[in-house]
Amino acid sequence: MGAESSPKIVIVDESPIRAAVLEEGLREAGFTGVVHISEMQSLLARIYTLDPDVILIDLENPSRDVLEQMFQVSRAVRRPIAMFVDQSDAASIQASVDAGVSAYIVDGLKKERIKPILDLCISRFNAFAKLQDELDRTKSALEDRKVIDRAKGILMKLKGLTEDEAYVLLRSTAMREKKKIGEIAQSILTASEMLK
């Protein structure tokens, strides 16, 4: 696809990482005219200035309602803009809402040219959500380890245990109470704060 025929795409997303992931994917697929907007003030004015063919917005963004105003008859609108998905595209709507993204296109852009953009968008959004999820889990595992280390330290000091013994005590208590070892460690920390 030549640069001339590449539609101009605007990504409205307050998450810079996700926007970068999407932008990269679009460029790789040959869509060269991609602009990212992260600032929600004067959003419509910026969009009118950029005059895009396609607008992609994440569903966590309250400014989605601002975009809906583009459908209204108004002096400010230079070109009519219509929702990408029409009546026959229930599956596309479902997939994009599930992924957490919505697309708007300028009226007249052919549907077959939009499909690859939306498909790519959906897959990148899904990949990003998976990544985010993994990151959150890693973070909480790290957090747990810190808490467990501190709880071990308290047990060693108060009960005169070795590090291994302290860990065994934590683990057996967790198993007996059917709780996570991190939760037991946290309650030791809380208790020791209170008893200070």
Binding site: Q41, S42, E60, D65, V66, E68, Q72, D86, Q87, I93
Partner: protein
């Protein structure tokens, strides 16, 4: 117990009957297992309801009508068997615009005609001095806020499309936008007007009840198809919301209702701010001036929860007046059919013939509303841009 229901809502005080129905156990008492899902935009609520990710939703009444008419989006017929609230919005203006209006006003500052005429003089002065047009924020193209602002200013001779700018702003951004001068005024539901006043960046100029005595605001919306497939679940949901509305309207329950609504995962503001709205006793200016109204937000009293097709017709008439919809008897019929007093009556075991005639719209300007002659009614208003 029926299968779990997912119901979307926007964090606003007029979601009260829905939130209290779930959090106070009225829904569970009806055998319903409901998960409330907090959303960030009306577009999201509409789309998730339309494609079936939500079974029901707290929805702007005009969005329910627009969805059934296929305006602005995919056409999905909606049924609204329960009004979550009447009135409840307010118009808040910046301290500078407040001073400008008060400098021009002749008459009662709570009289919407007096303020609209004063606004017209402010607008004319600004134009003569070459100042930028005033900007008004509202929540959605198909919103009561949009129509209420337009109705008010047009009565004073201000053309909402020519003389000022009307922009959509998500409710959580309203206060910041007023503080930063991005907008000069806004019309929004609670708690945002009170938040602006508390921060000293706005004055509440009008309660919407000044403009319209009785105006439907949010509805409990379901897909029409879903209502036909799940009549018993829907009836149980209506009953749960009805009990919750009754609970909220008892003054002795207000503090508890406000506490429930204020929870971080619900509306997420101070309970005291929520209670002001429920009590209709609001601080209207940063200096602490209080204004009370018995009509600020009606959750269940005065038969507020019973859908009234005449209200749907009024909203449709506004869509016609401002060029969003074409005028036709079919479209009017579709709009009115969204509001389902029959489902409400059936759920509560009421005889339809026993219910009283609901109150009129009671607009401060123009002739009384006539749903049978919308063209004639709209002809009485000078400003408007119906489609040819």
């Amino acid at each position: 117990m029926t299968g779990p229901l997912r119901i979307g809502f926007i964090p606003l005080v007029d979601a009260a009957a829905l939130i209290v129905a779930v959090d106070k156990g009225f829904a569970a008492a009806e055998g319903l297992d409901v998960t409330l899902v907090r959303e960030v935009s009306w577009s999201n609520v509409r789309d998730k309801l339309n494609i079936g990710l939500f079974d029901a939703a707290h929805l702007l009444a005009p969005v329910a009508i627009a969805s059934s008419l296929g305006l602005g989006h995919v056409k999905v017929p909606i049924a609204a068997p329960f009004n979550l609230g009447l009135n409840g919005n307010a118009i808040t203006v910046s301290p500078a615009l407040h001073a400008a209006i008060m400098a021009e006003i002749s008459g009662d500052p709570f009289d919407p005609l007096a303020t609209a005429l004063a606004l017209a003089r402010v607008v004319a002065k600004r134009r003569r001095s070459g100042a930028e047009p005033l900007t008004f924020g509202m929540t959605f193209p198909f919103s009561t806020h949009n129509y209420q602002l337009r109705f008010w200013m047009a009565a004073g001779g201000v053309d909402p499309d020519e003389d000022v700018r009307l922009v959509v702003l998500p409710p959580p951004y309203m206060v910041d936008s007023l503080a930063s001068g991005h907008v000069d005024a806004f019309c929004v539901g609670a708690p945002w007007n009170s938040v602006a006043v508390d921060l000293g960046v706005g004055h509440i100029l009008h309660f919407v009840a000044d403009i319209l005595v009785r105006a439907v605001e949010k509805v409990l919306a379901v897909r029409q198809e879903w209502s036909e497939k799940n009549p018993e679940v829907l009836a149980a949901l209506v009953r749960a919301a009805f009990r919750a509305a009754e609970y909220i309207e008892q003054p002795e329950n207000r503090a508890e209702a406000a506490r429930i609504l204020a929870q971080p995962e619900r509306i997420g503001v101070d309970a005291e701010v929520v209670q002001r709205t429920l009590d209709g006793r609001l601080k209207i200016s940063p200096d602490g001036k209080i204004r009370e109204s018995s009509r600020y937000l009606l959750v269940g009293r005065e038969d507020a929860a019973r859908p009234d097709p005449m209200q749907a017709a009024w909203l449709y008439a506004q869509m016609v007046r401002w060029g969003q919809a074409s005028i036709s008897p079919e479209a009017l019929g579709t709009a009115q059919a969204v509001f389902r007093p029959d489902l409400y009556d059936a759920a509560l075991g009421r005889e339809e013939t026993l219910t009283e005639t609901p109150g009129a719209i009671g607009a401060f300007a123009g002739p009384p509303f006539d749903a049978d002659d919308i063209a004639g009614h709209l002809a009485a208003f000078e400003i408007g841009r119906p489609k040819p």
